[in-house]
Structures are given as structure tokens and as C-alpha cells.
């Protein structure tokens, strides 16, 4: 007796727990890989899975075994040339395999790294891990909340304004043909027969009379088929699909003066990424503009933005001026939602900070949706910080934060996310 069982629908993803155990065990390495990836990736490309590689020696499962050395005598197939007693040089690197023990005896690890793919969700989880986001925000970032109506075929019921005329009439025509087909055919036959008959017979021949009655009856029957029936009606179907609402532009302002080292820039990058992620949830199209500055400001591409290093002093207002200029030229606030993220270590020319505050309060803040400033420093706040603290009084959509570790980044956005939560 044999059984044939279809197991295909059972036990899908049985290895999920084992996978999770594996990720859990190598959390440290994976986090490093994610951090590396974040460094290497473009801000706009943050949301995809990632290939993670872990050195094979770290994940090995040890076991007792023989190493090379001592005496190995092995039997091999495919002898072509050797005679008993021949002496052969040892193959280099064990490549030829001759004279070496079978697989598993060799201690060289041929594979460099154990590589596997993190899914998007897993990658984002590791990314968020450091930032200490509250759970609410995480779910929000991984699920979109706005909807848009979209056509999705036809359905049998709906409201009158959605009637699809072409489909409905096509249906009606089809129904009429289907229901009346037999009668129409018979009608044609009867008419033909009557014509033929009338050539030879007179009007009052009983057969002629009978045919005329039948024709009359058939016509009546065909007229009784309704031209259109509620059954024929088709309505356009519309469904809601998740949709980011419109377009936004995100300005990244970064101080690249000599005092900003790589660690600070990495921190700033996290900050920009987080804002970008938030924006991708809310907007369909996002432009990112990178402005870096020392004593002068310039608009650059992302690569230059993070990777080049200038020296010299800092004039923050140069960046703010450029921001204003770009905004006015290319991103009028009637069409664009403007978000600004600024990162700096707080150094500025003394008298420039006042200018910055005035620029912000009078020109920039009225035109933007949100402005977030982080100061990456371990020391005392400097004059720029002092001046900026006055901005939130006039414009509540200004956020600022002093940052020492990645965990400090999220609070900057707390207000922003809170607002989003209440509207969604």
C-alpha cells in the first residue's frame, strides 16, 4: 500500500525560525554590514535588501578532523600515465587533488565569506535599531497610509454615475442575440418559405396562412426581448490603492568645514536618510538637493556631498542664501512641499549667526513645511545654537537637537512624526 500526499500547501516557510535564529546570532556582524551599506548607499536608495557577508570562520561549526600531514594513501580514478613506483612532485596548493585526502581533510577554507541577502524589512529593522525609534514610527515607515482611487475593471453593481455605457450595451447586445437567436433563425426560415410558397400558391392557401401567423407570432416574441435589462449594466470599478500624496523637495545642508570629520558626516547621513524615509511615505516624487558649505556654499551631487572635505572657516548664511535662491528658482512653495535638514557642528563666524536667524525667521521658514537642524558636537553649544533657539518661538515647525550618538537623531523628528500620525 502506498500513499501519495500533496504537501505543497503545508509548512511553507518552515525555516523561518531557523533563519531568524541565524540572524539573531550574528546580529553584531549584520549590524556592521548594514552600517557599511548605509555609508555606501545613496540616500534615495536606502530601501532595498542588502547582501551581507560574514567571514566563514566566524560561522563555522567546529568538529574534530584530520589536518594534512602524516601519511595519506589515497585511491584515485583516471590514471593515464603513472606506473608503480613513479615519483611525482606534490601539486601546489592542493589544486590537482592528487595525493591529498578527500574533501574535508583540507584545512584551507576556499570560500572567503558567507554571503546572504537580507530582505528589505530586515534591513530596515537593523537600520532603525540604532536610531531607537518608537514602534509606532517603525510601523508607519514600513506601511503607507494614503490612498488613491484607481480603475480596476468592472462590476455588476454601483451607482448610476459609474455606469459604463459601452460595456453595458455590449452586454445587452450579447444577451439579445443569445435569447432571440432561435426565434430569429426560425423567422428568417419562415419568411423565405413564405416567399417561395407565394410564387406558386395563392394567399388563402392554409399553409400560407399558417406561416403568416407564425411570422407574426415570432416578431411579437422578438419585440418582447428588452433592449436593455438591469442585468446588462456594468459599472466601472474603482479601488483604493495606497499612494503617496504629491511632490516634495528635500534640502540637505551640510557643513563640510575642516572640523566635520567622517564620523560626524556619517551621523549626518543617518539624519538625512531618516528624513528622506519619512518623505517617501508621504510623497510620490521627491527631489533631493544637496548643499554643502564652508565659507561658501555650493550645490553638489550626493557623492561630493558626503565624500569631499574642505578646510577653513564656516559661514552658515552662505548655505541659507543658496537655499533661498534655489527654492525660489526651482521649487516654488505653491507646487512643492519643502523640507530642509541641516547638519553642522555648530561652528560659525560670530556675527554671521544673527544673519542666519533673521534669514530663517523672515525668508525661509514661511516657505518650508519643516526645518530640522542637528548640531553634532560633544562640546558646549555655540553661538549658532543660541540664535537658532529663538526660531521655534515664531515658527513651531522648526526642530533642533544636539547630537552625540545615532540614538539622539530620532527626537529631532518627533514632532514631525507625531503630526503625521494624527492626520493619518
Amino acid at each position: 500500500m502506498a500513499y501519495l500526499i500533496d504537501r505543497r500547501l503545508q509548512g511553507k516557510n518552515k525555516s523561518a525560525i531557523n533563519r531568524e535564529r541565524f540572524l539573531r546570532r550574528y546580529k553584531g556582524q549584520i549590524k556592521e554590514a548594514v552600517a557599511r551599506a548605509v555609508k555606501g548607499r545613496s540616500i534615495t536608495d536606502i530601501e532595498s535588501g542588502e547582501k551581507v557577508s560574514i567571514p566563514v570562520k566566524d560561522i563555522g561549526e567546529p568538529g574534530f578532523g584530520h589536518a594534512r600531514g602524516g601519511v595519506w594513501e589515497t585511491i584515485n580514478p583516471g590514471n593515464k600515465e603513472y606506473q608503480k613506483g613513479d615519483r611525482v612532485a606534490r601539486p601546489k596548493g592542493g589544486g590537482g587533488g592528487s595525493g591529498k585526502g578527500k574533501g574535508g581533510n583540507s584545512e584551507e577554507i576556499t570560500e572567503d565569506d558567507f554571503i546572504f541577502e537580507l530582505s528589505r524589512e530586515e534591513f530596515m529593522n537593523y537600520f532603525f535599531d540604532d536610531l531607537e525609534l518608537p514602534n509606532m514610527v517603525k510601523t508607519q515607515l514600513t506601511a503607507s497610509t494614503e490612498f488613491r482611487n484607481q480603475r480596476a475593471g468592472y462590476k455588476m453593481s454601483g451607482n448610476a454615475s459609474n455606469i459604463h455605457i459601452l460595456r453595458s450595451l455590449r452586454g445587452a447586445l450579447g444577451r439579445r442575440i443569445a435569447v432571440g437567436g432561435k426565434s430569429t433563425r426560425r423567422l428568417r426560415e419562415a419568411e423565405k418559405e413564405l416567399d417561395v410558397l407565394l410564387l406558386v400558391e395563392s394567399e388563402d392557401h392554409p399553409r400560407v396562412q399558417a406561416l403568416k401567423r407564425e411570422i407574426h407570432h415570432l416578431r411579437a416574441k422578438l419585440y418582447a426581448i428588452p433592449f436593455i435589462d438591469p442585468f446588462d449594466l456594468r459599472y466601472s470599478n474603482r479601488i483604493k490603492v495606497p499612494k503617496p500624496s504629491s511632490q516634495a523637495v528635500m534640502f540637505c545642508l551640510l557643513d563640510v568645514s575642516g572640523s566635520m570629520d567622517q564620523a560626524k558626516k556619517d551621523m549626518a547621513k543617518r539624519f538625512f536618510i531618516l528624513l528622506y524615509l519619512f518623505l517617501t511615505r508621504a510623497y510620490e516624487k521627491i527631489d533631493v538637493v544637496f548643499i554643502r558649505h564652508h565659507t561658501q556654499a555650493a550645490e553638489v551631487d550626493e557623492n561630493d556631498f558626503f565624500n569631499s572635505r574642505e578646510s577653513g572657516g564656516t559661514v552658515v548664511s552662505s548655505a541659507l542664501n543658496l537655499l533661498t535662491k534655489v527654492m525660489q528658482e526651482r521649487y516654488p512653495s505653491s507646487d512643492w512641499n519643502v523640507y530642509v535638514a541641516q547638519a553642522s557642528d555648530g561652528d560659525n563666524w560670530d556675527n554671521d549667526s544673527v544673519t542666519c536667524r533673521e534669514l530663517l525667521i523672515n525668508t525661509i521658514m514661511p516657505a518650508v513645511q519643516y526645518f530640522a537642524y542637528i548640531e553634532i558636537t560633544e562640546g558646549e553649544p555655540q553661538n549658532l545654537w543660541e540664535e537658532y533657539t529663538q526660531v521655534p518661538d515664531c515658527h513651531p515647525h522648526f526642530a533642533m537637537q544636539k547630537i552625540e550618538s545615532p540614538a539622539d537623531i530620532y527626537p529631532v523628528f518627533r514632532e514631525l512624526f507625531k503630526k503625521q500620525q494624527s492626520t493619518s
Binding site: G63, F64, I75, P77
Partner: protein
Amino acid sequence: MKPISKPAKKPLRKKASKPGRLPEQSEWTFELIEQAHGEIRRVAESFGLDTYPNQLEIITAEQMMDAYASVGMPVSYHHWSFGKHFLSTEKSYKRGQMGLAYEIVINSNPCIAYLMEENSLTMQALVIAHAAYGHNSFFKGNYLFRAWTDAEAIIDYMVFAKKFIADCELRHGVDAVELLLDSCHALQNYGVDRYKRPPKLSLTEERERQKERADYLQSQVNDLWRTLPRREEEVADDSPQRFPPEPQENLLYFIEKYAPLLEPWQREIVRIVRKISQYFYPQRQTQVMNEGWATFWHYTILNRLYDEGVVGNGFMMEFLQSHTNVVYQPPITSKYYSGINPYALGFAMMRDIRRICEAPTDEDRTWFPDIAGSDWQKTLDFAMRNFKDESFIAQYLSPKLIRDFHFFAVLDDDKEEKLSISAIHDESGYRYIRQRLADQYNMGNREPNIQVWSVDSHGNRALTLQHTQFQRRPLNQQAEEVLKHVTRLWGFDVILQTVDPEGQVLETLECKSDKQHRKM
């Protein structure tokens, strides 16, 4: 060796559709699989194959990878290493670097064989013949499987193990269980009784005894370490008593019974790993035979079906193509060479035994006087039942096969500057090669011989393991890592001595127990 091919042209057979004829199509359906299975069973029975009842299960590629990762068992406990295997299989499968095995078969009663949904009808028939009749009859007949594994109970035991370990994770934390399993896995090849026959597993008994055992074991252990003054007096006059009285080869068993600090649940987990390891031990010892036997039977059964007209030419072409791939042995000079292909060697030997029975040459009569010309089915059946790889090769490898494979022996002695060819396929080399090849499959030589040597039961409780060197082969570098795992299980210092066959200590590795880690 020669590729397997159909015997010379057959007379054209009538194509009239016989009732049992399988259609020429590659899509399978449940009806067709049942039909194919019916035919295969009929032929298998006519050859006298004795099997457990079959349970064929259709699974997806992903499920196949699952099964791969959890050593082929349908149920298994959770561990990160299975996740790792799954990831690496998945990676190479997705990149197209490897195809999945066509089949996995489980030594259980009923015998479970997996059929992958991607396979064509031909491949399903091949798998049924190979796994459900070939492997299945081997599991039921071979003496190692009969003595060491219990097909009736294994699935139940795995269910028990999974549940027990999941309970432990809840009670003692995932980390504690994971550490313990890591350590046990490091020793799993040393959790086997090579010569002593283990008692049969039984689920009910296992459950009943588990609780009892837990308490009992603890008291046993305490007894071992008791240091009452009266007792000391007794042994004081004598030279220190040895413990264990004789060296122990089963490290996990020794740890389960005697490790001083393990808690009952930890002992139970050690036992689970040991039991599973024991269950798979016969498979590691009979790879060549098992695959050879299954390959021989799928080849024989499907050819018979072709002769009967049940399957057509298209079926046969597809079957032969994958069959030839499976039994291909690349020569040592090939870049695809990675040791001897057990399918190739096993299949060739099974076929060769049949040839010796049916058409012996004079050479065969000299070498195999007792089987030359005998009934091939009986002879093969006897060979399948009573041997393992090592003895099977020593008994049945014929000079003809040595010539066909162009076998030669290479001696690699690290004291010599060059390798030397110690034998080739000639009159003086046949016996030598046969013996060396058999040795190559001797598990005792493949793995380092490491045994429990002594426990310092009156002093610091250190455990001494002894590695008896074979052919001066050193231990691999992982040994130190493994030793840490032993120390974790044992709870006190562990010493690994490497000795030469005369008992001279050559090298000593020591792993100190970290006091903090004593309580796992």
C-alpha cells in the same frame, strides 16, 4: 568508466497503446504518478525487493531546501545552523549554481520519499524507483540499519525532541539552549557507539523514562563525586582508581552520564543530539552501497519497464541523460574531480556483481569462485544485507572495475619530498588497491580516534581525552575550538593528549574551564 547506455538496438515494438503504457509527456499528474508507481512496484516485487510501505509526498523547491537544511528530517528542532544551511542552499539554488537533489528519502516506516513538484514525469518515476524501492529496501534489509536504527520510531522521536527542546527554550531561554546545542553539535560525530548495539527507541518509553531518568541521573552523578571520609579511607591504600575503567569512545554518552554540573534538561538534550547522530551513523557508513543499490535498481526497473513497453523512447532518453550525469566519475585530472563519486562506484559495483553472476570470465572465476555463475538476485541481496562500504569494497571490488576506473594508489608521506605511486591497475596492484580503497571508507580511519581516557575524580575533576594518531596525521585547527565546547559541557578543565600508537604522548592541548561559565 564506460557511460551507461542502452544495450544495442532493440527490435521495434508495437506501439499499440497497452493498458499500462505511460503517455509521452513531461507534465505529471497525480493519476500518472500513481500509475507509474503501480508499474514500478509490480516490477520491484517481481525482483523480490522487500520494502517498508511507501509514502510519497509532493513538495515544493522551498520545502526541499527546508528538508535539506534540517538534515532531511520532516520534523526537527530549531537551531541557527539549520538557518545557515538553508540560506546557503537557497543562495546557490537561486543563482543557478546548483540544482536541488531530485529526492530525499527518510528511513522510517512508512518510508517517506519526497517528490519535487518541478520534476518531470520521468524524473518522478526515476525518484520513485530510486528512493521508494532502492533506498527503501536497503533501509529495511541492511544489517547496520536493522541493528542501529528503528524506522518505526524515528519520526515520533523527532517530534518528541522538537517539543522537548522548544520547552527548554521557554523555560531556560533561547541562548542557554543554543549554547548547549552548539557544544553538542561540535561533538556529534563522537556521540556514536561504533560497536555496542543501542537499545531501541520507543516514544512512549522515552517519555515515561525521561522524568525518571532526570532525577536518577542527578543522583548518580552526585554519587560519583561524593567525598565521604569513609570512602577515602577505602581507596587510600591503593594506587588511584581509574575512572572510567576503560577508555570510552562515545564522548556525548560519557558527558550525558557523568558530566558533574549538567542539569537534567541539559543531559536530555545531549541525549537527543546523540540519538540523532546515532541514527544517521549507518548512512555515513553505507554511502557507496546505499546509493549504488538505489541507482542499480532504478536503472534495472526502468529498463524493464522500457522492455515491457510501459515507457517510451522519449522517457528513456530523458531518464538516461540524468542517470548518466549521476553516475559520471570525472578522472583525477578533470577540474570537476572531487573525490570518488559514490553513485558511480556503487552503481558500477552492483552491475559488476550481476555481470560476474551472469557472465563470469576466467578471471572472475579465480577471484570470486563462490559467486561466479550463481543466481544474481540472491547474490546481490546477500551483499546488500550483510556489508557496509568498507567490507563491501574489500569483498566485491573486481579487477575489471579497477581497470575500468583506472584506479591508482598515491602515497603522500610528509617525510618524503615527493609523492609516490604505490600501485596501479595491474596484476600486482589489484589486491593492494582494493584494500586501500576499502580502508578509505573505514570510518575509524576517516575521523580522528578520540576517546575519553580518564577523569581526575580525586583532584580537579579534569577530563582527559586521548587522540591516538593514525598514520601520524595531526588534528585540524578546529580541535581547540571543539575542546572549548567539551569544556563547556564538562564544566571543568579538559585536556586532549595526542599519543602515537605506542602510547607515547606527543602533544597536549588544554582548555581551562572558566569559573563564570560553570553554571550554564
